[in-house]
C-alpha cells in the first residue's frame, strides 16, 4: 500500500516537474548565447534581445527597430535554434507602417544561425533598421493554439571608421 502511494506521488511529482520545465524551457538560451557571442567576434557586443515568438491561430508580424550610429559598422547575429516551427526574418530600412520601404535582408529560420551586416557606406541616411519576424499561423496536432519559441538577436558594433569623421567637407548649416 505504501509503495503504491509512493509511486503515485513520484509520478505526480514527475508530471509537475515536466510541466514546470516545459513552461521555462521553451527558451533554454545559455548555449545559444555563447554561440552568438562567438559569431559576433570581432565586433564589440552591445546588446542582446531574446524575442519570444508565440505561434497563434493567425499570421502576424513582430517588429523590432534597431537604432544605428552613422559611422559605425554593425553585425546582427540571429539564432533561431529555439523555434519549434520555421518563420521568416526580413530586415527593412523603414517601419511596417511606411508604404515605401526597402528590403535590406531576408532569411529563413531554417538556417538556424546567420549574420546580417548593414551596408553603412552605401546607405548614408540609414539610422534605423527594422527587423520583421513573419510568424505563420499554427494549430498543433492536438488542437492547441499556442506554441512558443524564441529568437536570439545579438548586436555588435565596430567604430574604427569613425576616425574619418572629422574629415567631412560636406557640412551644412541650419
Amino acid at each position: 500500500m505504501k509503495k503504491i502511494t509512493l509511486a503515485t506521488l513520484l509520478i505526480f511529482a514527475c508530471i509537475l516537474g515536466t510541466q514546470a520545465q516545459k513552461t521555462q524551457s521553451y527558451c533554454p538560451k545559455e548555449e545559444v548565447v555563447t554561440k552568438c557571442r562567438k559569431a559576433l567576434v570581432p565586433y564589440k557586443y552591445t546588446n542582446m534581445v531574446v524575442n519570444r515568438i508565440v505561434f497563434k491561430r493567425s499570421n502576424y508580424i513582430k517588429e523590432i527597430s534597431i537604432p544605428l550610429y552613422f559611422d559605425a559598422n554593425y553585425r546582427l547575429v540571429f539564432n533561431t535554434e529555439l523555434l519549434p516551427k520555421d518563420i521568416k526574418i526580413k530586415i527593412y530600412d523603414k517601419p511596417l507602417t511606411e508604404k515605401k520601404r526597402n528590403e535590406l535582408g531576408s532569411f529563413e529560420s531554417s538556417e538556424r544561425q546567420f549574420n546580417f551586416e548593414p551596408d553603412m557606406e552605401n546607405n548614408k541616411g540609414l539610422y534605423e533598421l527594422y527587423v520583421n519576424f513573419l510568424i505563420p499561423a499554427y494549430i498543433a496536432d492536438d488542437g492547441s493554439s499556442f506554441i512558443k519559441g524564441c529568437v536570439i538577436l545579438m548586436t555588435g558594433y565596430e567604430d574604427q571608421v569613425s576616425e574619418e569623421f572629422g574629415d567631412s567637407e560636406s557640412s551644412a548649416g541650419e
Binding site: 500500500m1 503504491i4 509511486a7 503515485t8 509520478i11 505526480f12 508530471i15 515536466t18 510541466q19 516545459k22 538560451k29 548565447v33 557571442r37 564589440k44 557586443y45 552591445t46 546588446n47 542582446m48 534581445v49 493567425s58 499570421n59 502576424y60 508580424i61 513582430k62 517588429e63 523590432i64 527597430s65 534597431i66 537604432p67 544605428l68 552613422f70 559611422d71 519549434p84 520555421d86 521568416k88 526580413k90 511596417l96 507602417t97 511606411e98 508604404k99 531554417s110 548614408k124 541616411g125 539610422y127 534605423e128 513573419l134 510568424i135 505563420p136 492536438d142 558594433y157 567604430d159 569613425s162 569623421f165 572629422g166 567631412s168 560636406s170 557640412s171 551644412a172 548649416g173 541650419e174
Partner: protein, 293 residues
C-alpha cells in the same frame, strides 16, 4: 481505497506519458501548398504593412553611447559626473533605478577616458545600487570584479570587462523578465550621456557632437515607446516619460530642419546655437530632476 489509488496511478501514468511525449516535437516542417500560401500571405503583409503587429524594443548600451561620443571628440572633464556622495539621496526604488543608469553612464565615461581611480569608486556605487534594485547577482562574480581591479591601467581590458557586465545584465534581465526595469535604467543612462555630451563639448568638438546629439533622436524614440509600454509606471517615471516625450517633439523639429536642407546623414548636420542652447537647457533640467533625488 485501493481502487482510488489504482485509478490515480493509471491516470497519472497516462498524463505522465502524454507529458513526456509532448516534449518530443522536433520542429521539422513538412511543406505543402497551404503553407506556401500562408508564406505568400505573410510576405504580402510585410510588403503592404498590414496585419497585426507586435512591437518590441531595442536599446543600445551606455558604453556604446559613451564610445560614440568620445570618438566624436568629447573631452573628459573631472567633476562633471554625478558625485558618488549623492548615493544616499536616492530613497525611492524608481530613483535608485534611474540613478543606477546615471552612474553606469558615468562609469562608461570614466573608463573610456582612462580614469582608473574614479572607475573603482563608480563601479562600487553601481554595484551597491545593483543590490538595492535586485540586480545584485550580476556583480556577484568575484572573477568579474577582480578582472576589473587587476586591469585598471589597461583601458581595452576594462572595456571588455564592462562589455561582459552588459552581457551578464542582459541575460539576467531576460531570465527574470525585468525588461521594464532596464528601460528605466536606460532612461537614466541616456539622460546622463546627453548631459555629458552637452556639457563636455568645446568649440572644437561642437560640430561633430551636434550631429551626434541629434542622432540620439532615434534612440529617444525607442526609449519613449519602451517606457510607455509599461502601464504600471510610478509617478516619478511617468513624469520623466512625459518630459522625454516633449524632448522628442523638439528633436522632430530638428529632423524636419535637416530634411528640409536635403541632408541625409546626421553626420552632415550642424545644429544652430539657438537650438543647441534649447537642447542643453532641457537636458540640464531633466538630469537635475533625476540626480537630485
Amino acid at each position: 481505497m485501493k481502487k482510488i489509488i489504482a485509478s490515480g496511478l493509471i491516470l497519472s501514468s497516462i498524463a505522465f506519458f502524454a507529458a513526456c511525449d509532448s516534449g518530443s516535437e522536433d520542429g521539422s516542417v513538412e511543406r505543402n501548398s497551404a503553407e506556401e500560401a500562408q508564406e505568400e500571405m505573410l510576405d504580402e503583409m510585410a510588403e503592404e504593412g498590414e496585419g497585426d503587429v507586435v512591437e518590441s524594443f531595442y536599446l543600445p548600451s551606455a558604453l556604446q553611447i559613451g564610445s560614440i561620443f568620445q570618438k566624436s571628440g568629447l573631452k573628459y572633464l573631472p567633476n562633471l559626473t554625478n558625485s558618488v556622495d549623492n548615493l544616499n539621496k536616492y530613497e525611492t526604488k524608481s530613483s535608485k533605478i534611474l540613478n543606477f543608469g546615471v552612474y553606469s553612464a558615468d562609469l562608461a565615461y570614466i573608463v573610456l577616458n582612462g580614469q582608473s581611480q574614479d572607475a573603482t569608486n563608480y563601479l562600487k556605487v553601481v554595484s551597491d545600487l545593483s543590490n538595492e534594485i535586485g540586480f545584485g547577482s550580476v556583480f556577484e562574480s568575484k572573477d568579474l570584479m577582480s578582472r576589473f581591479e587587476s586591469n585598471l591601467g589597461n583601458r581595452d581590458s576594462i572595456i571588455n570587462v564592462m562589455i561582459d557586465i552588459q552581457a551578464r545584465t542582459d541575460m539576467f534581465v531576460d531570465d527574470n523578465n525585468l525588461q521594464d526595469v532596464t528601460y528605466i535604467i536606460f532612461a537614466g543612462a541616456w539622460v546622463e550621456g546627453m548631459y555629458l555630451g552637452v556639457e563636455a563639448s568645446d568649440n572644437e568638438s561642437r560640430h561633430a557632437l551636434s550631429g551626434r546629439l541629434v542622432e540620439q533622436m532615434t534612440i529617444l524614440d525607442n526609449l519613449v515607446k519602451a517606457l510607455k509600454s509599461n502601464k504600471n509606471q510610478t509617478e516619478e517615471v511617468a513624469e520623466l516619460t512625459k518630459k522625454l516625450s516633449e524632448l522628442e517633439k523638439f528633436f522632430y523639429k530638428l529632423e524636419e530642419n535637416k530634411n528640409s536642407q536635403n541632408i541625409k546623414s546626421f553626420k552632415d548636420y550642424k545644429i544652430s546655437q539657438e537650438h543647441l542652447d534649447e537642447l542643453s537647457k532641457t537636458i540640464l533640467e531633466l538630469r537635475a530632476s533625476i540626480v537630485n533625488g
